[in-house]
């Protein structure tokens, strides 16, 4: 039964996943077990993606099913498990690409990281305010436009200037971003994909 829900999600059987979650909630099963299985399903999706059996199409679809399914669990998902860390995440100012950022958000949540998602085209001050308010372990900047690199750089500088960089790591990612970009904007690390982001975050937090 347990492995089933994970498999259903990994096989992108949307209706079956939703039905199964509803049924199990109705039977009074605790949300926490259901969440575990859904998260395991997303891990399977990740594995198939690495194996090039799945592509962006399947990442988008599985992310959506995962969102609907955890939505049924109400606040249980947000409150579930111990959180190992927290990230303030957003796409930088003047850039509206969000498909990659949303995948990062889901994969990090599945890995026990509390995600505060600021959306796209995020003004520098909003990043600063959010970091001040939420005191995250990480700031995640997504950027797909080389023309927005300077906004990413300015965001890092603003965090530095506000003394908010200290004690936390700034991660960056998105299509053309690489090590050269990281050095240019003075972030702490860049990640090629969502899985790398999760691994990097865990490594920095000292958990496996």
């Amino acid at each position: 039964m347990g492995a089933n829900l994970s498999e259903m999600l990994a096989d992108l059987q949307e209706n079956q996943v939703i039905e199964a979650v509803k049924e199990r909630l109705a039977k009074g099963e605790p949300a926490i077990g259901i969440i575990d299985e859904l998260q395991h399903g997303m891990e399977l999706v990740g594995t198939r993606y690495q194996a090039q059996e799945y592509y962006l199409s399947e990442l988008i679809m599985s992310a959506d099913i995962f969102k609907s399914a955890t939505g049924l669990l109400g606040d249980a998902f947000k409150a579930s498990g111990e959180k190992i860390g927290k990230i303030v995440l957003g796409t930088v100012f003047e850039d509206i690409h969000d498909i990659g950022k949303d995948i990062v958000s889901i994969i990090l949540s599945c890995n026990g990281i509390d995600v505060i998602d600021l959306g796209v085209n995020v003004p520098i001050e909003r990043f600063v305010e959010a970091v001040r308010q939420h005191k995250p372990d990480f700031v995640g900047l997504s950027c797909l436009l080389t023309t927005a690199y300077d906004n990413m750089k300015a965001t890092v500088e603003a965090l530095d200037a506000a003394g908010l960089h200290e004690g936390r790591k700034i991660l960056i990612g998105g299509g053309p971003v690489d090590e050269t970009t990281r050095a240019y904007v003075k972030a702490d690390a860049f990640c090629k994909n969502a899985q790398e982001a999760a691994d990097m975050a865990k490594k920095m937090l000292g958990v496996n």
């Binding site: 090039q52 059996e53 592509y55 199409s57 679809m61 023309t147």
Partner: protein, 369 residues
């Protein structure tokens, strides 16, 4: 005058020889640069990008006659509103929605709803797009009309200079229209949630697109047309989806154009490396594969070298950031490894606005060395 027409014939022959997979006297160079042309002549993008199609093609001509000898130009003119016709999305314009010298931006929104597939199936594509252009895209028809009207004069102006306007029109498959109108994320979910409905609508749209493509090729007497591919790239879709919703539609449009005696230029951005073998099903020595730097062009040569001319692919980043020596080195490699038969030198996709002029010059010069 006579000299220009001789040059034109010579250059056209050179391009056609490459398309036929034979070895021309030298590799032809057929670039494209719109925002780059404006920057080069010092024109604000807000002035260049829309509403003045005649001035725009003159700007492009001014730019490309100052950079060395080219054989052809991919597009004869420009209007950023044309992007709306391909993806059924709004475009944010410099000087209106953006600072004056910013690049125009496609603004993806869910302008088409899932119910609209039924409308398309019931009323047909023509009626649907007429309504959509008028109501969802702020009367797009009126805004693109001047551009269409300027096409023949633009093509003639290049021709008068002995430069071949190679592929001045863009056609594409239903996938690209739907994906833009629904937004990429919603559309990809449709492929899972209502695949039969999507396919039914695509099959209603396809004959209309094929007929439009035929008429454009005939009416403007075109040598080539862009058969564009952007969001339908292999890297975004698992193979079963790509095989069902993408490839068969390209095949139809390519075959129709070849039947018209026109050259389909597969202007395919992003990474298509996984599916290159499928292109062997297109008519041999009649098409051009034009990747943007993301597809492995050397792999494309390996797979398609005996079947299809390849055009490309000096990457945008290289034109913007590298030195002329680096550009020359890369072009030489392309000319010897992808060419010298069945190859046309060009940038990948479009020369970016921040390309260094000396890098573009180096690219163009490399075919003459």
């Amino acid at each position: 005058m006579a000299q220009a027409s001789d040059l034109y014939d010579e250059r056209l022959q050179r391009i056609k020889t490459a398309v036929a997979l034979a070895k021309p006297d030298r590799v032809p160079c057929v670039p494209l640069g719109d925002s780059f042309a404006a920057k080069l002549v010092g024109e604000k993008l807000s002035v260049f990008c829309t509403g003045r199609p005649e001035a725009a093609y003159k700007t492009m001509i001014r730019a490309f006659t100052s950079l060395g000898e080219i054989d052809g130009i991919q597009h004869a003119g420009f209007d950023a509103n044309m992007l709306s016709t391909i993806w059924l999305s709004k475009v944010r314009m410099p000087g209106v929605d953006l600072p004056e010298d910013n690049l125009w931006q496609v603004e993806e929104q869910e302008l088409m709803k899932p119910e609209d597939y039924d409308v398309i199936i019931k009323d047909g594509w023509q009626k649907f797009t007429d309504d959509f252009w008028l109501n969802k895209l702020d009367n797009l028809g009126a805004r693109v009309q001047p551009f269409f009207a300027s096409m023949p004069a633009a093509m003639q102006a290049w021709k008068d200079l002995g430069i071949v306007p190679f592929s001045p029109v863009i056609v594409t498959i239903p996938y690209e229209y739907f994906c833009g109108a629904r937004s990429m994320r919603e559309f990809i979910k449709d492929l899972y949630r209502r695949p039969d409905k999507v396919q039914e609508a695509m099959d209603v749209v396809m004959p209309v697109l094929v007929e439009q493509a035929r008429q454009l090729a005939r009416g403007l007497n075109l040598h080539g047309l862009w058969v564009g591919g952007w969001r339908s790239a292999s890297e975004f879709l698992s193979r079963p989806l790509w095989e069902r919703f993408v490839f068969p539609y390209y095949k139809q449009i390519v075959e129709a154009l070849v039947d018209e005696g026109a050259i389909p230029v597969l202007h395919w951005d992003s990474n298509w490396t996984r599916d290159l073998e499928y292109l062997l099903q297109f008519p041999k020595a009649k098409c051009v594969f034009s990747p943007d730097g993301a597809t492995d062009i050397f792999k494309a040569k390996e797979v398609l070298g005996d079947h299809m001319c390849i055009m490309g692919d000096v990457p945008a980043e290289m034109l913007a950031l590298a030195t002329p020596e680096k550009v020359t080195e890369y072009c030489k490699r392309l000319i010897s490894e992808i060419g010298p038969s069945g190859f046309i030198l060009a940038q990948g996709c479009d020369i970016p606005p921040n390309a260094k002029p000396e890098n573009v010059r180096a690219m163009i010069a490399s075919v003459h060395q």
